[in-house]
Amino acid sequence: MTQSCPAIIGVGRTKFGEHYEREPEKLIEEAWLKASESAGIERKNLDAGYFADYFLQLTNKIGIEEGFLSELTELHIPMEKTRSFSSALLNACNGIQSGKYDLVLVGGVEKMTDRWDKIRDDLMLLEDPWSYYAGCTPEANHELMLREYVKHYGISGSQLETFNTALAQIAVRNHKNALQNEYAQYQREISLESVLRERQEAHKPLGLYDFAPVSDGATALILASPEMAKKLSDKPICVAGSASATDYVTYSAREERTGFIASTIAMKNALKIANVEVGDIQVLELYDQSTFLEMVSLEDLGFSKRGMAWKDIMESSKELLGFYRVDGKELFVNTNGGLKADGNPLGATGGAQIYEIVKQLKGEADNRQVKADADLQYGCVLELEGFGTKAYVHILRRVNRS
């Protein structure tokens, strides 16, 4: 089955951060040019395009994004717009697997800082209007889930202190990872003390350093049919499994409130499609909108046992391993710095996650490279839309050329 997988033959991205001097088209142009260059293709080769953004209509008053892409490429191919990059990739995979297309451009962009004064309201209304009406913020539901988790597993006293430290270690490690990532929004280390101090001063379970920032940026990749990939690339990375799942828009109304059921379902299906086990995954990009989400996603995806992820994280942090030791195996997580340090321009974020796994599997991650590429075979990306309302899991595999 994996023989017929669509393959990623080129990736590209911009630096994440604030790009107030550039239009969104300029960002997507940079990402697309880099991706096409690394794939060694010309725009005329493209059969279709899938393009992700959440907010361009709000932030930049751009309604029909496909038109800009058409102008950019001077092409009149079919193009579709989705919210998340992972959704664009999933749709592109479907397009290729159906036999309709051979070469597809997948892109994502966001210009959140163009509407910096209203973007938190936009984010919250996107997540769930009813929670917004009740006074929710983009951060509040993370903290509610944390409270549910702590109460559900009866974490208190010194255990709670360890739990809080484990979450802080996630932010520290992500910032450290981003030091080696030239595209990251924050290329500076933060200390454990500063993460804890921010929380203390705010009198909140999660503080400033627990949350991903607001960002601008663009990402792109070129997806090819297996036959086309064979012709165009020496080192294609195949999309072995691509799956998504949904959950209620209102967090409070969900049955499961100590994790994301959508993540669990999407992972289960992606593993099945890819025909691999959780334990086969070596590099992992999680959707750490907050440190808590990185932790709980380890459980949702089946890496850590329920209620145990923070212990796994703490154990690994103690020894400064740079990876999580889960179930006796090494798991490298958010090697690009995660959303926390790499940045989170919503529509482009998934592209940066895929970018990182592709680079790792190809052995092109420079100073971030966790292992020789020959020793890496499987990577996995989790991307969420809203607060776990949608989950996308992609399992990527390095193709061994005989």
Binding site: R120, D128, A134, C136, T137, L144, K151, H203
Partner: protein, 503 residues
Amino acid sequence: MSSEPIERRVSYIGDRLRGSKCGICGKEYFRPRDYCGTCGRKSFGKMQDIDFFYEKGELEVCTLVKEPTNKFTKLGAYLYGVVSFNNGKVRVPGRLTDSLLNESEIEISRFEGREVVPRFRRRYAVEQSDVIPTIALTFALADEYYPYQEHKIVKAQEEYEKPGIVGYGVYTSKFRIKEGSIERSVPFIDEDSITAAVEAGKMALIHSGIDPAMMAKVYVGSESNPYAVKPIASKVAQVLKLGEEDKAEGVQTVDAVDTEFACKAATCMFKDAAALVYFPSVREHYTMVVGTDNSQAAPRNELGGELDFFVGYGASAFIFGMHDVIAEIEDWCSCTSDTPDFWRRDQECYPRHGGRFTGEPAYFKHVTAAAEKLMDKMRLQPKDVTYFVSHQPNVSFPVKVATQLGFKDEQFMPGLQVAKFGNTYSGSSPMGLAAVLDIAKPNDRIIIVSYGSGAGSDAYSMLVTNQILEKRTRQKFTIRYQAENKNVEYVDYETYRRLKLGM
């Protein structure tokens, strides 16, 4: 600008926390739906309307919000969390209201697991010219100021000869300002005259036990409606589901109107409300009169600022009918003259006092004339009256007028509430009436005389019936409960002005 269609839909559901219950499996939902997610197609037509307006919930988990989204910034810091109803059958997002948080002392776990009651409030801040959004995903702790009370519909037992009051309710807020011997109620920042009207109406429904669907008309008197054009009464009618609900048309079969005559905007409608239920085809029905005000006053150093020492916040609601009456209306007398003692021009924020007319001839002449004319008409002496209540803009006026009319301390002091809540304008003399009804015995006679600037007075004589005793057990949220509540929170002058201004 906000979208009127979205506003209408969100308010319809959110103001009352409407939902559905599956008639097959019993699963409950916040927000009405046509079929059950578990039972599927076979549940079409079997979904029952429910709502959580009178329910009690539990704040399961919560967190402190210090950096709200733009529309909530005026609230400052607040607690936000998950509220469950019926042992977790339904969970909704909710904001804890009525609390001025001291962030450094917030221990989140202290709030978790506590019982909460939905409150009808402003949802968030909008432009001055926009529709005011409201919601009831705002909660207050049930063990603090505002108690959980069951809403039980009781079948009417007895028809009376004369129309009268069948139930009443008073609402004042948890916050007070205390200056000298005077305490005054202060709205929380998400409250206004609309939210108080709904709260008072809710209390009156709880007390009367009538079926809200039997309401024929609701009158809301106010001089601080945040809208120049748009009635408070329509909001009260919809939120409290007054009159038969026609779901197909999306209307309540009820008449609703706002009235304005300074502080007698509500009392002047008592006779109309009573007369209406005397109409042959309405005799089985009821009417409601609400007096509500977030009493306005300019800041102290400005023109009109003298009012700032006296204004309060609150609402009183009275339900009239022919059945199960607790106080029959014996007779009434009103008098009116064109006396410009107090006014507020259109588009002005605060009212003005002329100064010359305030006491004499405005207040004293009208109150005295109405009271004397009524007593003459009924051949009553002060000794025939158990309680005398008059409009209370301050402490001295009502005491002076009552004494001049020949009433003694024990007759007028029980109804004098201005020192506890301030001048609640349209709700002022009705609040005094409620205080007296809270303690009255069968066969007590009450005279209430309102006063509205501009100017006029309504005097009513009421005779208390036996049923007052039984109904009294249904209402915890009495005048005394609100006046002497240990959870009342006192604020300083700056906070009082900020809260009063609203969001």
